[in-house]
Amino acid sequence: MLTREEVLNRFNLVFRDVFDDETIIVTDATTADDIEDWESLTHINLILAIEEEFGIKFTMSEVTLMKNVGEMADIVLEKTGK
């Protein structure tokens, strides 16, 4: 079973790739406002990269409803825990 900490650590690697910024450290409270290049079109790259990292697939409603990195981690933990 993945721990929340592991998920966030792996998020960091994915975020750094997608936004090409080695200094990024995400927390549960991180949102698009906190990362310069995180806008609607890079969001799709982020979603796909997270899906590939954890071997999962988000549904449309999950993607539209998630409000911050913490909620994204919740969904990843739920999907990988099954």
Binding site: V14, D17, V18, D20, S40, L41, I44, N45, L48, A49, E52, T59, M60, V63, T64
Partner: protein, 575 residues
């Protein structure tokens, strides 16, 4: 470092590491050309643009992009915006999909408008099939499947009838990718992408292949291993009678089909060569088996010896007057592949896996993406063969002039004609070595030079007793009062040392004089590949008038001081 941008690439990595990969690609030192590409989209195109960016840079083309506002492809084409007209694209890519299905006329009208406004190559998607079927199989006879099939045929009819118009076959791509994965509606509802994000690198790779083919950076030749590549087994150990080829075993059939696949490339003008670690007689014995599809005659060069393959490959390249970067090296042995990869960067080396998948492994890379198919392509192998016969003849003469006379050469040197626009454009895009200014022109631009009174255009076609070499030389000169600026001068290396350049200059000056030209200005712009013509104008008695720090030179000649230089080629003689 080392992200693969040739097939098979990792789409997820390319999408998530776009910025890093782009930065690293641009750090490589190589000759880049710059092209302006307008993407007119019927749906979101952001990631299509990014992936196209990566693949084109990997092909040596640095693109500058214009993207239409979301789904405004038609408006952009029909009511040209200031932004697009001032962008002045070199290529227009129209990314439409089933989401933009409309009357055929709607599309044709748009293409016509774009052609007359921009005179540049157009790449147009055809349509993918829907991922659901309302009536099931009936859709194929009375429904949308039938409509789409018919529409795609109309698109391809238009492409067949118009130069510089190319279909991006997403109908095939989506089938190959898996239609349900390609059309995953998640990406449409979420981001208005007409195709799934994971499919975008595949689409962009396909578009990049068309573009690099238009600009002449296709591969031109195969260098093929023999044992376990063209047949199963090791002929030196097993004997010619025991290698796997023919129809007797599954393995033999796979190798036979692979041989047929390679042989078909000859009609596209791709040259086949052998590079094998074998005794020559063994190599030939395998190819001479009656059930071998490929025979010794199918190859231009057969090197079967124990020298390193990198050495044999660069020698073959030299003999054929090709760069090593024109070659696709096919060898089942990963160690041989690795050595050639290290010694000769630029050679394409597919990671072939197992004989039944060789065709797939090579085909997907798009090395030979065909955009123009000229009559000369089909004859190319013949021409290389005949060149070998000429070399033999040459060796039998001690005096080179006697040899040239014995070739009984005749040339047609005339202003551009519509029939040859696509071949002439192809030459401007493919010729790198005997090319003074390395200007690349599309068929439309060639046509524009041809009809303008301001330019003198000449093509040269060379015949000899062995056959027709096709169109081998092109000149474009711009008239400025009584001066002629030679903005393009190129010749195919197939006809080096045949006095063809002298025949071309004689004819150019003869025509220039009839138009009142008193002086010629010649230019040499150095590239990584055209050192052989650095002193070209000097040989003709031009005077150097300037040289800049890059080694670019400008030359001048009074037409009155010029005396015709060649007498071994009969020019414009009607038989």
């Amino acid at each position: 470092m080392g992200y693969s941008l040739t097939y098979p690439f990792d789409s997820g990595v390319l999408l998530s590491k776009y910025k890093t990969i782009k930065r690293e690609l641009l750090e490589e030192t190589r000759d880049f050309t710059r092209k302006k590409i307008a993407i007119l989209g019927g749906s979101t195109t952001a990631d299509i643009r990014k992936m196209l960016d990566l693949f084109l840079i990997s092909y040596g083309i640095i693109p500058e992009f214009y993207e239409s506002e979301y789904a405004k492809f038609w408006e952009d084409a029909m009511f040209p915006s200031e932004k697009l007209t001032s962008f002045n694209p070199d290529i227009i890519y129209i990314h439409t999909s089933l989401r933009n299905f409309a009357q055929y006329e709607h599309y044709e009208q748009m293409w016509e408008k774009l052609r007359e406004t921009y005179h540049c190559p157009i790449i147009q998607n055809n349509f993918e099939y829907p991922y659901y079927r309302l009536m099931g199989n009936k859709e194929a006879t009375h429904g949308r499947i039938k409509e789409i099939t018919e529409m795609n045929l109309k698109f391809s009819d238009y492409a067949r009838a118009h130069d510089s118009f190319y279909i991006c076959d997403i109908n095939w791509l989506s089938a190959d990718f898996g239609l349900s994965k390609w059309s995953d509606p998640f990406y449409w509802y979420m981001y208005k992408y007409a195709l799934a994000l994971p499919a975008i690198p595949t689409l962009s790779y396909n578009v990049a292949n068309i573009i690099k083919s238009i600009y002449g950076t296709n591969k031109k030749a195969f260098a093929l291993d023999l044992d376990n590549t063209l047949w199963g087994g090791v002929i030196g150990d097993d004997g010619a009678e025991n290698i796997q080829i023919g129809q007797e075993t599954p393995e033999a059939m796979a190798f036979s089909e692979f041989q047929s696949y390679l042989k078909s490339h000859k009609d596209l003008g791709i040259i086949l060569n052998i590079i094998s670690k074998n005794e020559r007689e063994n190599a030939l014995a395998g190819l001479k088996r009656p059930d071998s599809t490929l025979t010794p005659d199918d190859f231009i060069s057969i090197k079967a010896n124990w020298e390193p393959k990198s050495l044999n490959l660069s020698q073959t390249a030299q003999e054929l007057s090709l760069g090593v970067d024109s070659f696709v090296f096919v060898d089942d042995n990963p160690a041989e592949r690795e050595i050639v990869r290290r010694q000769l960067p630029g050679v394409a080396i597919p990671e072939i896996t197992s004989p039944e998948h060789y065709i797939y492994d090579i085909d997907r890379a798009g090395y030979f993406e065909v955009t123009t198919l000229t009559a000369d392509d089909a004859k190319r192998n013949e021409q290389y063969k005949v060149n070998a016969a000429r070399s033999e003849l040459r060796n039998s003469f001690s005096d080179y002039n006697e040899y040239l006379k014995s070739l009984e050469m005749s040339a047609e040197i005339k202003p551009f004609e519509p029939l040859y626009f696509s071949r002439i454009s192809q030459l401007t895009n493919k010729s790198n070595q005997f090319n003074l200014t390395t200007k690349r022109y599309s068929p439309d631009e060639i046509e524009a030079f041809s009809v303008s009174e301001q330019f003198i255009t000449l093509y040269g076609r060379l015949n000899d007793k062995f056959g027709d070499n096709g169109i081998v030389s092109v000149i474009i000169g711009e008239i400025c009062d009584n001066n002629l600026k030679i903005i393009l001068w190129l010749m195919s290396c197939r006809v080096l040392k045949r006095d063809m350049e002298y025949a071309m200059m004689d004819e150019l000056i003869r025509i220039a004089k009839t138009k009142g030209i008193r002086t010629l200005t010649g230019y040499y712009f150095p590239t990584a590949k055209n050192a052989m013509v650095r002193d070209f104008y000097e040989t003709f008695g031009f005077t150097k008038i300037s040289e800049d720090t890059t080694g670019a030179t400008t030359w001048s000649l009074d037409t009155d001081s010029y005396a015709p230089k060649q007498n071994s080629i009969q020019v414009n003689f009607i038989k």
